[in-house]
């Protein structure tokens, strides 16, 4: 009996749909973006907001594999931008997703702690035992790219920690807790941290796929706008490559 009471009390709540037009004029558009887009996404969204003043954009950042996990668990979003193509394979087949468009590319760089306490002068120094190196976890595109680079080079670095996303990796280096961290070139553009480039012959390029979810019109507009010349210019200025 109490279950019946509980269910009937909860039923009206199920009738509400979040998110939805609140007063009929502002449409809420939710975007899930890879952590490496933290700095550039506000600019892209600002441009989009000018084109569609009746829409409000909310962006949430996480590691690409975590975004995929959220989608599989039923997160209500309009558009998604990931930092790599491998996480796409973990997407549920039953999801209604728009066409995937590659909107940017990125390459890796080694960020060094302020003042370079680890005295890392060259790429091979990363193999030393006495430095603390942080990289992204294997399931995130940044981590996969780092593993590919190390494998191509034959380097076996001593990793101190596998961080959940590239921004967590960067913050460990920026705070001085780690001597070095493998991040994207775009992550260090706004910082004044010393960097070490990845050798050209082992450098790896990651591609950023974007797609809309559940046939969202606003999401599709957002994704197609990401491929425009204007967005590409913004991305290029932030250090991303063109697809």
């Amino acid at each position: 009996m109490s279950t019946v009471v509980a269910v009937t009390a909860a039923a009206p709540l199920g009738g509400c749909s979040f998110p939805g037009p609140l007063d009929g004029t502002a449409e809420r558009v939710t975007v899930l973006a890879a952590a490496s887009l933290t700095d550039v996404m506000p600019q892209l969204v600002a441009g989009e907001r000018k084109r569609h003043p009746d829409r409000t954009y909310e962006v949430s950042y996480a590691g690409s594999s975590q975004i995929v996990q959220q989608l599989n668990s039923g997160a209500q979003v309009d558009a998604v931008v990931l930092a790599g193509e491998e996480p796409l394979q973990a997407l549920d087949d039953g999801l209604d997703l728009g066409e995937t468009v590659i909107v940017a590319t990125n390459t890796l760089v080694v960020a060094l702690a302020q003042g370079n306490p680890g005295e890392i002068a060259q790429w091979s120094d990363l193999g030393r035992d006495d430095i603390s190196l942080v990289v992204c976890a294997e399931q995130v595109p940044c981590g996969q790219a780092a593993q590919r680079v190390f494998a191509a080079d034959g380097l076996r670095p001593t990793v101190a920690s596998y961080e959940p996303d590239v921004r967590a990796t960067l913050s460990k280096v920026a705070s001085g807790e780690a001597d070095a961290g493998v991040v994207y070139v775009t992550d260090v553009t706004d910082t004044d941290l010393p960097t070490l480039p990845v050798p050209r012959d082992v450098a790896v390029t990651t591609r950023y796929p974007a797609f809309s979810v559940e046939g969202s019109m606003a999401g599709e507009d957002f994704v197609s706008q990401l491929g425009s010349a204007e967005s590409r210019a913004v991305l290029r200025e932030a250090g991303f490559g063109s697809p």
Binding site: V5, A90, V134, V140, A160, S161, E163, P164, G176, E177
Partner: protein, 261 residues
């Protein structure tokens, strides 16, 4: 048809029923999601084995530290008369309510390479605590110690003070009184407090991942392992989660009659 006696109880039963539902539904759902046939394989993957072994090690050491340091502190709080003690008790309880990630940031500020003590350790002895198993133990102790202290202090306060006097008149030193009179009497409270503190240490995530990092076999405890597995191998994540659930149910079930120390 509800009898007259139960009819008046609905205001209690309905919210209580909802509360039970909120608490038990996720646990039931977890059990239903497990691939029972694949469970043995899922919990013997390298990730699971390393996480379980590391958690067993760190929580054991944490428990030892917590009991050795927490018991005297609890005694001091229970029996001391200094006016600052109520403030001390409040401060000791802070890690209990602090969000674990905030705890991790605080631990970095103290023990990290740029931290108050950590910087000194790094420069003079070349010791860095973050990214090591010691860091895991430090993080777990930070969150578990208040649980133990508050729990044991409660049972110490309930002790009859006259027993101290009796022991003294029989010639016992304060230390002997403590070890041979007080400890045996508060042992059930200590056991309950220790179990709670151990369970808290086992479940610690936010402070661990922020302060100690995430490395299999060295700092990737079971909660961090589940977090990682969720994106790498969801079946292993669910399997590990069920193991954790089983361990917690066993510990808390053994405690059920001793909830109130």
């Amino acid at each position: 048809m509800p009898s007259r006696r139960t009819a008046g109880h609905w205001p209690i039963l309905v919210p209580a029923g909802l509360a039970i539902g909120i608490l038990l539904l996720p646990l039931l759902a977890l059990l239903l999601r497990v691939d029972w046939a694949g469970l043995p394989a899922d919990i013997t993957t390298p990730l699971a084995r390393q996480a379980l072994a590391l958690s067993a090690l760190t929580t054991s050491v944490t428990l030892l530290v917590v009991v050795l340091l927490g018991t005297p502190l609890a005694w001091m709080l229970a029996r001391g008369a200094h006016p600052a003690l109520p403030w001390l008790r409040a401060l000791v309880t802070v890690p209990l309510v602090l969000p674990p990630v905030v705890g991790g940031v605080a631990l970095l500020a103290a023990w990290g390479r740029g931290g108050i003590v950590g910087a000194v350790l790094d420069e003079t002895l070349g010791i860095t605590i973050p990214f090591t198993t010691v860091a895991v133990i430090v993080a777990e102790t930070f969150v578990a110690l208040p649980f133990y202290v508050i729990s044991v202090e409660g049972s110490m306060r309930g002790l009859d003070r006259r027993l101290d006097g009796i022991a003294a008149t029989l010639g016992a030193s304060p230390l002997r009184t403590f070890t041979q009179v007080v400890i045996p009497l508060v042992a059930p409270g200590m056991a309950a407090g220790a179990a709670l503190a151990w369970a808290r240490a086992l479940g610690e995530f936010g402070a661990t991942i922020t302060f100690a990092g995430n490395f299999p076999g060295r700092t990737q405890t079971v909660p961090l392992g589940v977090f990682t597995a969720l994106e790498q191998d969801p079946d292993a994540a669910v399997a590990l989660s069920v193991v954790m659930l089983g361990v917690c149910v066993v510990v808390l079930g053994a405690l059920r009659s001793r909830w109130r120390p």
